[in-house]
C-alpha cells in the first residue's frame, strides 16, 4: 500500500507537483499515466525516497518516508527511470549486491538470486559482465535487483521503455504474476495502450496535479467518452505528450 498525501515539490521556480494525493492498493496494478513532464517521475522519486517533498508526505505500508526512510525503502522494490548497471559486475552480482543492501546474505540470498535468474530467463548472460548487455537484458537485471528482497510494494518508472515486443510481454506477465501474489504495484507510463492492457486502476496526472483517478471503466463513465483514449485526453485536457 502506497499513499501520497498533498505532496508538493518545486525545483527552483518550477512547480513539479502541486498537491498530489493518491493511494495505491495491494493486489492491484495501478498505472500512473500522464504526458511527458506531468510530474510522474518526481512523484515516484518521492515514493522511493530519493527526493524529499516540500510539503505533504509519502507512506509505504503506513511508514512515513520522511521519518523512517530506510524502513519504508525496505518495503519497496524500485525500477527507476534510469536502469544503469555496473559494467564490471555480472547480472548475478548485481542481484547479490542489492540483496546484501537489503540485508540478505548467505545461502538464502544465493538461492533467491538463482530463482530470479530462472524467473526472468537470464541464464544465458547471468554470469557475464554487464558491459554490452542489450536493453532487454539490462531491464531484466534491473527488475531482478528490484525484486531480490521480495518486496510487498513495487514501483516501476516506464518499465517497458525501449523494449521489444517479446520483452514487453515478459514484463507484463511478470507484473500480473506479482499482482496475483497480492503485491502493490505502481508503474508510470505515457503509453495508453500499456495502461489499458495492464491496469486495474489508473491515476491520471497532468501539470503536477491528479486530474482523474479510478478504474478504466470509472474513467470512461466520468468523462462520458467511449474509448479509454478519448477519456484520457478529456481528463488531461490536451493530447500533448501522450503516445
Amino acid at each position: 500500500m502506497i499513499v501520497l498525501e498533498h505532496v508538493r515539490k518545486s525545483f527552483g521556480p518550477v512547480e513539479a507537483l502541486r498537491g498530489v494525493s493518491f493511494a495505491v492498493p495491494d493486489a492491484h496494478i495501478t498505472g500512473l499515466l500522464g504526458p511527458n513532464g506531468a510530474g510522474k517521475t518526481t512523484a515516484l522519486r518521492i515514493i522511493y525516497g530519493v527526493l524529499r517533498p516540500d510539503r505533504g508526505r509519502a507512506l509505504v505500508d503506513g511508514v512515513d518516508l520522511a521519518a523512517h526512510r530506510l524502513e519504508a525503502q525496505r518495503r519497496l522494490g524500485v525500477l527507476p527511470h534510469a536502469q544503469g548497471l555496473y559494467a564490471r559486475l555480472t547480472a548475478r552480482e548485481h542481484v547479490l549486491y542489492f540483496g546484501e543492501m537489503h540485508g540478505l546474505s548467505g545461502e538464502r540470498l544465493r538461492r533467491r538470486a538463482d530463482e530470479l535468474v530462472r524467473l526472468l530467463q537470464m541464464e544465458e548472460f547471468a554470469d557475464r559482465c554487464a558491459e554490452g548487455y542489450s536493453q532487454g537484458q539490462r531491464v531484466k537485471v534491473a527488475l531482478a535487483r528490484a525484486l531480490v528482497h521480495d518486496p510487498r510494494n513495487v514501483v516501476l518508472d516506464e518499465p517497458t521503455n525501449g523494449l521489444d515486443v517479446a520483452a514487453t510481454r515478459q514484463v507484463r506477465s511478470l507484473l500480473k504474476q506479482l499482482r496475483e501474489e497480492g503485491r502493490c504495484i505502481l508503474f508510470s507510463s505515457h503509453v495508453m495502450q500499456e495502461v489499458s492492457a495492464l491496469c486495474d486502476r489508473v491515476v491520471v496526472i497532468a501539470r503536477g496535479q491528479v486530474v482523474a483517478e479510478g478504474t478504466p471503466d470509472d474513467l470512461r463513465r466520468l468523462t462520458g467518452r467511449e474509448s479509454l483514449e478519448d477519456a484520457f485526453v478529456a481528463a488531461i485536457g490536451s493530447e500533448e505528450g501522450l503516445a
Binding site: G49, R52, F98
Partner: protein, 392 residues
C-alpha cells in the same frame, strides 16, 4: 541491517569493481613507480660525474702542449692531462670531451714579453655532467695565472698581497645527507601525487561515473544510510590510494639498494623504519585525499569534468611542498598545520636526517585528520540531501 554492514557491502563492491578495472588499475599502480625510477636515473647521472671528479681525477685534454710546458706541468698536478681531440670545439659540442684547453702558438712569446697570454677553455655550459671538469680546469688555470703574476710582482719588489685585497675562503657546510636531500626533495612530492593518483579512478567511477552510467538512482533507492554510502566510496578510493603510497615508498626504498649511496658520498635515511613511518604519516593524507576526491567528483558535471577537476586538485598540495623541499630555508611553524604541506615537510626533514619534535608530527597528523573528518561530514550531509544525484 547496521550502519557498519551497509558500509561494508558498498565498500567491498567498490573495491572488487576497482580491481576489475584493469586500465585504471594499471594507470594507478604504474604512476607510483615513476618517482623512484626518476630518482634512480638522477642519482646515476650525479654519481657518475661526482665519482669521476673525486676518485679518478679530471681528464683534461690540452691542445698545443708544446707551446707551454710549464703550464702543462702545473695542470698535470691537479688533473690528468691527455691529448686533445682534433677538433676541440666539435668534440665538446658533441660531448666527446667535457672540456678542452687550447694553447695557441703565440702563448710563449706573449708570456715572455709580459703581455696577457691567450688560453682558450672550450666548454658547454649547458651540460650539467661536465660541470666538475669545467670547474677543475678553471680553478687550475686561475691558480697558475695568479701564481705567475705574483712571481712577477716579487721580481719587481712588490709584495704580492698588494694585489690581493680579498682573502676568500670557501667553507662548504653541506653534509653528505643534505647534498643528497637536494635530489630527494622530490620524494614527498611523489608521495602526495601517489596518494591522489592511486584513488582517483575509483573516486571518479564511484560518483560521477555512477551518475553518468545512471546507476546512482537505484543505489539511492536502496535502504542505506547515505553516510555509509559515501564513506564506503571514500574508503574504496582510499584502499587504492594507500596501495599506491605503499608502492611508491617501497620503490624509493629500493633505489638506494640498487645504487649504494655511500659510494657517491650520500647517506640517505631511507631504511625500512623511515619508510614505515612515512606510510603511517601518509595514511591521514590518504583519508583526506580520498574524501576530497569523492566530494569533488560527486559535484562534477560528468566523468571528464571530474578527471579535470581532480588532476588540478592534485597539483594544489603537491607543488608548494616541492618548493619548500627545494628551498632549504627553515620553514615557519604553521606549515606543519597545513594538510599535505606538513607531511611533506616532515618527510623532507626525516630524509635530511634532521630531528623532529613530537609536537610537529602531532600537529600535522591532527590537522589532516580533522580536515578529513570535516570533508566526510560535509559529504555525508550532501549525500543525505541527494545532491550528487540531482544537482552536480
Amino acid at each position: 541491517m547496521t550502519w557498519l554492514r551497509s558500509f561494508w557491502v558498498v565498500f567491498s563492491k567498490e573495491v572488487r569493481e576497482g580491481f576489475r578495472d584493469r586500465r585504471s588499475l594499471v594507470t594507478a599502480l604504474l604512476f607510483p613507480v615513476l618517482g623512484p625510477a626518476l630518482l634512480g636515473v638522477m642519482l646515476v647521472i650525479v654519481s657518475q660525474s661526482t665519482r669521476k671528479a673525486d676518485e679518478q681525477g679530471v681528464d683534461l685534454p690540452v691542445a698545443g702542449r708544446e707551446h707551454a710546458p710549464n703550464l702543462v706541468a702545473f695542470l698535470a698536478q691537479g688533473a690528468r692531462v691527455v691529448p686533445a681531440p682534433p677538433d676541440p670545439e666539435e668534440a665538446v659540442r658533441r660531448g666527446d670531451a667535457e672540456v678542452v684547453i687550447v694553447i695557441p702558438e703565440e702563448f710563449g712569446e706573449r708570456l715572455r714579453s709580459g703581455r696577457p697570454a691567450p688560453v682558450r677553455l672550450i666548454v658547454d655550459e649547458s651540460r650539467q655532467q661536465a660541470r666538475p671538469a669545467m670547474i677543475a680546469a678553471e680553478r687550475l688555470l686561475t691558480a697558475w695565472s695568479l701564481q705567475t703574476g705574483m712571481q712577477r710582482l716579487v721580481v719587481r719588489g712588490i709584495h704580492p698581497a698588494v694585489v690581493e685585497p680579498l682573502a676568500l675562503e670557501r667553507v662548504d657546510v653541506s653534509t653528505p645527507a643534505s647534498r643528497a636531500a637536494m635530489l630527494f626533495a622530490t620524494v614527498p612530492f611523489f608521495l602526495v601525487m601517489a596518494v591522489f593518483t592511486g584513488g582517483m579512478p575509483v573516486a571518479i567511477d564511484a560518483t560521477a561515473g555512477e551518475r553518468e552510467r545512471q546507476s546512482l538512482e537505484s543505489l539511492f533507492a536502496a535502504p542505506l544510510p547515505r553516510s555509509a554510502l559515501v564513506l564506503a566510496k571514500m574508503a574504496g578510493a582510499g584502499v587504492f590510494s594507500a596501495l599506491a603510497l605503499a608502492e611508491t615508498l617501497v620503490g624509493f626504498g629500493l633505489v638506494p639498494l640498487a645504487l649504494p649511496a655511500t659510494r657517491i658520498g650520500f647517506s640517505m635515511q631511507l631504511d625500512p623504519r623511515m619508510l614505515l613511518r612515512s606510510f603511517a604519516l601518509g595514511l591521514p593524507m590518504v583519508l583526506l585525499a580520498s574524501g576530497l576526491m569523492v566530494v569533488l567528483a560527486a559535484r562534477a558535471r560528468n566523468f571528464r569534468a571530474a578527471q579535470t577537476t581532480l588532476s588540478l586538485l592534485m597539483l594544489v598540495p603537491s607543488l608548494p611542498g616541492m618548493a619548500l623541499g627545494l628551498l632549504s630555508a627553515r620553514p615557519p611553524g604553521w606549515v606543519y598545520a597545513v594538510p599535505f604541506l606538513g607531511e611533506q615537510m616532515i618527510v623532507t626533514r626525516m630524509l635530511r636526517g634532521e630531528a623532529l619534535t613530537t609536537g610537529q608530527v602531532a600537529v600535522s597528523v591532527a590537522a589532516t585528520i580533522t580536515a578529513a573528518i570535516l570533508v566526510a561530514l560535509f559529504a555525508a550531509r550532501t549525500f543525505e540531501q541527494g545532491q550528487p544525484l540531482f544537482d552536480p
